[in-house]
Symmetry: C2
Subunit: 479 residues, 2 copies
């Protein structure tokens, strides 16, 4: 069975046939860098990261492009409102590009803590004004866009395929009366490609249509084409981007360049649900990742997200995170015991024999089924059982090194849930110190010095560390 991916465009799961046999072009809509990342970003970029990692594990050379939106994303999707960066810049008394710089760095930090591997190219919208202008000019030349007083709009009526991704043609604003339609648009469903900059608007560039700035959607059309070529293999985004953002990307790219389709496969991740007030309190009234990281280990959050399918919602109740965390800790315990037993062996690719291991085959089958990470995680629990059995049987120790390499491939390379220096920061003293303390406690118990062993447990508890004893030994975790 080859890899199958659910394509929003066709509404079916379909076999993945890359355009080039050995390489894959992957584009995922990135953040608008005017605020910190929240749980929704975590879900979207863990989806992108999982696709990236699994395709590489499957042998493809992946070019992963994820944009940084630092201009043009207005506070209202209907081409009204203000630029989000300008609003934040005014509030913080900073240049909007200082806002972008600040939140871009914090975005990188948050993703690093979630062990999300960086994309190969992270193009900024403000860095591709010329490319966006070129595409807009093509659309005007071909009659798909029109200029009104320094604004350029896409003429939706001219694009017979508009709506093919979302099934929608407009936000029906005129009908709902939610927003007054702009008088200079031919139709309320038309959308902005270029906006005239009013006096005092800081984010502005010269253009053939006067000083202005790009509409939000055009950046992804211009930058994906620049770095991946057209068509490319996979375009990912959050479900909330299907309309209008992704629909508009398709319209702009296909009408402007004449290449169809723009992207072969459209993947969309579902939401992380955080139940209003009831959740708010225990999560500190925030769904910002930085706030969650104060309470939960970032990789536990990653694991929680992987335990639901990217097309399902992820429930972020504290009990759900804690339950996921307990399972995750069991996996890690087994992994660490295995690693300790095998010792320091170099990483290597799996052999054909290891690839044929029933659990590896099952893991691959689950991931080939539209990246079914919850079922892939379930396979890891089977792998943990097999590992524990093997660790308990000295006759089977010759297979331990192979098991470790399988863990590294599946749990670290593909799912990214093994804590590494990268995700954990540079200070690795806690590990050796805890090993030392656990050794001391074991010794004191062997010596029947229970005063000392109890004291060690109590003192650790005070600084938030819990010891867990099992047949296989003692492990520790942060509370």
């Amino acid at each position: 069975m080859p890899l199958e991916i659910y394509n929003t465009l066709t509404r079916t799961k379909q076999p993945f046939n890359p355009i080039h046999p050995e390489s894959v072009g992957l584009y995922v809509c990135g953040p608008t860098v005017y605020a910190d990342s929240h749980v929704g970003h975590a879900k979207a970029y863990i989806m992108g990261d999982t696709v990236h990692r699994y395709l590489e594990f499957s042998g493809y050379l992946v070019t992963y492009v994820q944009n940084i939106t630092d201009v043009g994303h207005l506070t209202d999707d209907a081409d009204e409102g203000e630029d989000k960066l300008l609003v934040k810049g005014a509030a913080e008394k900073k240049h909007p590009m200082a806002v972008a710089e600040f939140y871009t760095r914090r975005y990188y930090e948050d993703m690093t803590r979630l062990n999300v591997l960086p994309p190969d190219i992270a193009p900024r919208a403000s860095a591709h004004i010329l490319e966006q202008q070129e595409l807009i000019q093509q659309l005007i030349d071909k009659g798909f866009a029109y200029v009104v007083d320094g604004n350029v709009y896409f003429d939706v009526a001219r694009d017979t395929e508009y709506g093919k991704l979302s099934g929608r043609k407009s936000e029906d604003q005129a009908a709902s009366g939610r927003v007054e339609s702009r008088t200079d648009k031919r139709s309320p469903q038309d959308f902005a490609l270029w906006k005239r900059a009013e006096k005092g608007h800081i984010l502005r560039w010269p253009s053939p249509w006067g000083d202005g700035y790009p509409g939000w959607h055009i950046e992804c059309s211009a930058m994906s084409a620049k770095y991946l070529g057209l068509p490319f293999d996979i375009h990912g985004a959050g479900l909330e981007n299907v309309f209008p953002h992704n629909e508009c990307e398709i319209a702009q790219s296909e009408c402007g360049t004449g290449v169809k389709p723009f992207a072969n496969i459209w993947m969309h991740n579902n939401m992380v649900t955080v139940e209003g007030k009831k959740m708010g309190k225990s999560l500190g009234n925030s769904s910002y990742l930085r706030d969650l990281f104060e309470i939960y280990d970032p990789l536990t959050l990653r694991f929680t997200i992987l335990q639901s399918h990217y097309r399902s919602t992820t429930e972020f109740k504290p009990e759900a995170i804690e339950a996921a965390g307990a399972g995750y800790q069991k996996l890690l315990d087994t992994y660490y015991r295995l690693e300790q037993k095998v010792g320091d062996v170099p990483r290597r690719a799996l052999t054909d024999e290891e690839r044929a291991h029933p659990l590896v085959k099952q893991f691959v089958a689950e991931m080939d089924d539209d990246f079914n990470t919850p079922k892939a995680v379930a396979v890891l629990f089977d792998l943990a059982r097999e590992t524990n059995t093997t660790l308990a049987d000295p006759n089977r120790y010759d297979t331990l090194e192979g098991l470790l390499q399988i863990w590294r491939a599946l749990a670290d390379d593909v799912l990214g849930i093994i804590p590494t220096g990268r995700a954990q920061g540079q200070d690795n003293l806690a590990g050796p110190l805890m090993e030392m303390i656990i050794g001391l406690r074991n010794q004191s118990r062997a010596d029947k010095n229970f005063a000392l062993s109890d004291k060690l447990r109590t003192e650790l508890d005070k600084i938030g560390i819990v010891l867990e004893d099992s047949k296989q030994g003692t492990t520790w975790k942060k509370k």
Copy 2:
């Protein structure tokens, strides 16, 4: 005495008079992101960071801009050779923008480990093609630049002030015969503002003069003006950039905009010397920061650099780093003992009384003298002596909190040498664990259980941690 800064432009130390009374515009030439940062980068950006930090300590609102060069920096300063990003991209089989992304992130990581605070805005050359083209057009319109077959050159003969920063007019290549002068330049000393992209050149943009890419120097002229306005207060760079890079920036900006001077003060940092082969071996044959971080604590390297003046060379012999590290560790020991004694008090600004403390006044006087960090560090050693004396005298304990705030202001805020979560990564468990172990050891010694106290010391030693006992208590450090 107000702050005085040595100005390369006037070759004198002169009083600092900011253009706006309360705010300062600071621009420092940033890295070309085609390789990892080396010790020279550390010195340059620690200089920029020190200026940034000290001006903020002095009460100014600083806007710190540092560019990221991702296009146009050729392998040869004389407008010949290839683009460094393209060369690396070809070697790594990556898009040049993937090379830029990769090394930009690593640059951020390296600087974070050196506790260099990020600039407010980090504009990329490729993100300001339009701004560069606008300035080039101004130069053409005013007769300071000419177009030859898709290339645009600055006409050095037209700029009577060219050479005022460096005292040089050209690299004298024609005279030395080192490089064949390009036949399409009017004079060999002219330099490129825009280069025609040959077929197959990936980094290219449309322009009024045909498809091409900017010369290296024009980005700093365009981006400093965009984010700081002209003139601005301070422009910093490495000494090796005085000619041609900074000289060309002045020529472009002053001739193009008519605003003189371009920047009021030019600061240039000297080199880090690493003595050829002799140094190479012990430093792992590399001056890359990442390699040095394997051997030395990053903040020890920062401290070593601060122990020489930015306009002097820094000698990076292992013995020099180790000697600096020993002194640094003594300072930290005192700081930690003080912090432990005072407990968890919130940070606050210094009171007028604390600002009038003789050592604070001396520290400020040294920093006001062209950022004399070696002398400022010497003041910290005096502060350590005073702190130790105070810690030894219970009658003076009421002054300890003030001393701690002074340490925080001078050693942390201004010099950036106190290890913090930011520089040390996220895992802060080692501190509490060590406190627990030291407490346990103190208890076991009080109980005359020397077997246990000795065992604790031995076990810590095995994992590379050394305990140091003194009258004031026990501290620990990594070997």
